[in-house]
């Protein structure tokens, strides 16, 4: 009888959605990691995570402005969940990668996980991210919805793990409208504790 009650409860419960507020000017750890940032305006943290150590923030919905954090992706791990491991396995991050390998890792991951047909790396330059030598790169792509999107990523490999923040938005209006807020977030990034995992 208990079994039936449990099944009834599971079936009748409505789907749980929870988008959390990320308040401005408050340091917050992201992507279940020691990567900490302080936004200069309020954001929404979406419940759905693109991958194991990742997290997405948005202002108007992930289709219109998407800030994603990858918090310490470990050696031999993928950025996203596998969609078809047997036929189209996702590329894996390796600790021996150089910062200049990161754009290709992101591109090849997008082609599989997000069905991106056209992806262009527009620029790349060395920067410091989270207090470590890293890379800033810009890119554009067209996904399943035929919408041109622009993106900017700030990333670094710290103690053999990948830390990255990306911002993506439709090239029309939304990218220009949100890029300054993203750059503020990226500039505030730092490792809050020594990079050590439990």
């Amino acid at each position: 009888m208990h079994r039936i009650t449990l099944i009834l409860a599971l079936i009748s419960s409505s789907p749980a959605f929870a988008n959390d507020l990320v308040p401005a000017s408050t340091p917050v750890n992201v992507a279940r990691s020691d990567l900490q940032v302080s936004p200069d305006r309020d954001w929404n943290k979406l419940d759905a995570r693109p991958g194991r150590n990742s997290e997405t923030w948005t202002l108007d919905g992930e289709l219109l402005n998407d800030v994603s954090f990858y918090g310490g992706t470990e050696n031999n791990r993928t950025l996203f969940r596998e969609v078809d491991r047997r036929n189209r396995p996702l590329p894996r991050f390796t600790s021996t990668m150089l910062p200049t390998d990161i754009p290709t890792l992101l591109e090849n991951s997008y082609r599989i996980a997000r069905d991106v047909s056209i992806f262009t790396l527009d620029s790349q330059e060395p920067i410091r991210f989270a207090g470590n030598p890293g890379i800033r790169f810009t890119y554009s792509f067209i996904g399943r919805d035929n919408l041109h999107r622009s993106g900017e990523a700030h990333a670094a490999i710290i103690d053999g793990r990948l830390y990255m923040a990306t911002f993506e938005a439709p090239s029309i209006h939304y990218f220009a409208n949100g890029i300054a807020a993203f750059r503020h977030i990226a500039a505030s990034a730092h490792i809050a504790r020594p990079a050590r995992r439990r």
């Binding site: 099944i7 079936i11 988008n19 309020d42 929404n44 948005t58 108007d60 919905g61 035929n146 041109h148």
Partner: protein, 259 residues
């Protein structure tokens, strides 16, 4: 054994209840909104630029993958175009049509049409679906503020200099294959899991051509009417233009057409 069959019977009953109940829950959701402070000119003077609807039709495989069908899309495009031509005179406005743009203008229109689709989906997911509203927009939502935009760049759209508003229409239909429908029934009856079959999304939006703001929208992931048939397309267009702010009463005067 008796316990198992009882359990199965309970599951089948619950599943059938859910299959019947789900469509009504979907329709209970809000699907129209008007920007705060917007009032449509009631003297028929508003000029509305109407673009060719963005129509996509295909099949949904058993696994849920979308397979575009060029023949269905072509049929639907024709039927929706005809239905829209019949419906436009009921709008209390001057309708502006332009020649089908080519080259960079055509690309610009495709880009804005895709953006309109993304904005519409965001409105359904985060404004119309009350349980999923974004924290930063909750106060706006409580006060009935509807603020979504395509940006001021709409001024560069072909024909924008001849009109006050642009009407964007997008439909996307995924018709569930026989395999998908069987999977839906099996999953509901045997496991009690809800598997959707098909998608019939439709968005119609009126955009201010000076600001890019959406002043009215009607959007839903569960529209009616089989767009592959003439009657179905008439029903779909009628649903898309439902609650349009400048619709004439049946006996009212009709706005002229500007070319």
């Amino acid at each position: 054994m008796i316990r198992r069959s009882r359990l199965l019977a309970v599951l089948v009953f619950i599943s059938s209840v859910f299959i019947v109940a789900l469509p009504s829950l979907t329709h209970a959701q809000e699907r129209t909104a008007v920007r705060q402070g917007f009032s449509f000119p009631n003297d028929g003077s508003a000029r509305i630029l109407v673009f060719r609807p963005d129509v996509t039709v295909g099949a949904q495989s058993t696994g849920g993958l979308f397979e575009p069908r060029a023949d269905w899309t072509e049929q639907a495009r024709g039927h929706i175009g005809t239905a829209l031509d019949q419906a436009l005179p009921t709008l209390n406005a001057q309708i502006v049509r332009i020649q089908e743009p080519i080259g960079s203008d055509a690309q610009l229109l495709r880009d804005y049409s895709a953006l309109f689709g993304a904005v519409s989906q965001s409105i359904i997911n985060y404004q119309f679906f009350v349980g999923n509203r974004l924290e930063t927009k909750k106060r706006d939502n409580r006060e009935n503020v509807f603020e979504w935009t395509l940006g001021e760049g709409v001024r560069t759209l072909p024909g924008a200099d001849q009109a006050d508003y642009a009407l964007f229409i997008t439909t996307e239909d995924h018709y569930g294959s026989t395999g998908r429908k069987l999977l839906q029934i099996f999953a509901a009856a045997a496991v009690g899991v809800g598997v959707t079959s098909g998608l019939h999304a439709g968005y119609a939006g009126l955009v201010d051509l000076q600001t890019g703001n959406l002043v009215w929208i009607n959007a839903d992931f569960a529209m009616g009417g089989d767009v592959r048939e003439a009657d179905g397309a008439v029903r779909r267009v009628s649903q898309l233009l439902e609650d349009f702010p400048g619709t004439l009463p049946i006996s009212g005067e009709r706005g002229g057409a500007a070319q």
